[in-house]
Amino acid sequence: MKTSYFVMLLFLSVAVVSLTAWDKPEKDDLPTTGDPTKSRAALGAMLKVLKHQRCMNCHPTDDRPRQGDDAHAHLFNVQRGTDNKGLAAMRCVACHQTENNKQSNVPGAPHWQLAPKSMGWMGLSDEQIAANLIDKSKNGNRSLDQLMEHMTRDPLVQWAWQPGEGRTVPPVSQKDFHEAVRTWIENGAVIK
């Protein structure tokens, strides 16, 4: 009886440790060399972009995309849907294609969609946003290399700097943002 109790406890402990590990950033991924001060400064530059209202508009923590510099709810009751690409008969693609529309000025980019809810940033602190960026359970199971690829190459992310007429761009240039992401990651991806 005692043996089976011990085995069960051991099993539960392993299960708890595994679940806890799953929710945390994979520390092994993080570079152990580098300059945390540089990483911290780079994070500051990155956050100017990530927290810019027009970037935040597609990273809500609820089911409503926002629009404009004033973050009003997307007109016409537009909602996230189960796949982040709209409701069954009101899909994002009803209006948004893979590039900005020259006639209607409706914005567009490849795989137009809301960021998954786990990548929602609204209402989070700087530290929480940074922690979520490197948390595989929240960042789409991306390694740091994949995260860098996503932030510097994904066409929907890069669209932020080519948003079409009448839309503001982030306060950091695309080139400087890419450099900041590289510096942040190469120097340890600090979160505060």
Binding site: F76, Q79, A88, A89, M90, T98, Q103, S104, N105
Partner: protein, 156 residues
């Protein structure tokens, strides 16, 4: 560009500027006048057609994106013998006032019922977002429920 696509089950090849709105291709090149121009900004839904089954606002859909796709317009809904259940429901409930926006609503409803055959009130509110300046929304809501009944009966 040379655009080849299927519209209402017929293949067409037309020479058009690649950024021409699909709505212009439908109305001015192929002379199918059922789909309407409303706002030109993908906001009102008067220009709704289906592209590969999804409701699309064709005023804001560059022609090049229709390459190789299947487009359905209001003209394809009825055959010589009978109306589409959504069209019949629209008649039964006497929905239209001026009528201008109705093809868009009918196409949006067709798309909704193909994806959600018996939508709730919330699902109707969330998925049918077109605009009717005559304010026929109440009659349209009744017509959508009527179309559900007609579709269910036709399957018996």
């Amino acid at each position: 560009m040379q655009l080849t696509f299927e519209i209402n089950n017929q293949s067409h090849t037309v020479e058009v500027p690649e950024d021409m709105p699909l709505l212009w291709v439908i109305r001015d090149v192929l002379r199918l006048k059922g789909t309407k121009f409303g706002c030109g900004q993908a906001m009102c839904g008067a220009c709704t057609v289906q592209v590969d089954g999804d409701a699309i606002r064709s005023c804001s859909y560059a022609a090049k994106f229709a390459q190789g796709k299947k487009v359905t317009t209001i003209e394809a809904l009825a055959n010589e013998e009978k109306l589409h259940p959504v069209q019949q429901a629209w008649l039964d409930e006497r929905v239209p006032q001026c009528g201008y926006c109705q093809p868009g609503f009918i196409m949006a409803t067709k798309s909704l019922l193909e994806k959600i055959p018996n939508p709730s009130e919330d699902e109707i509110n969330d998925n049918i977002t077109n605009i009717c300046r005559c304010g026929t929304y109440h009659r349209m809501r009744k017509a959508i429920h009527r179309a559900v009944e007609l579709q269910q009966k036709s399957k018996l």
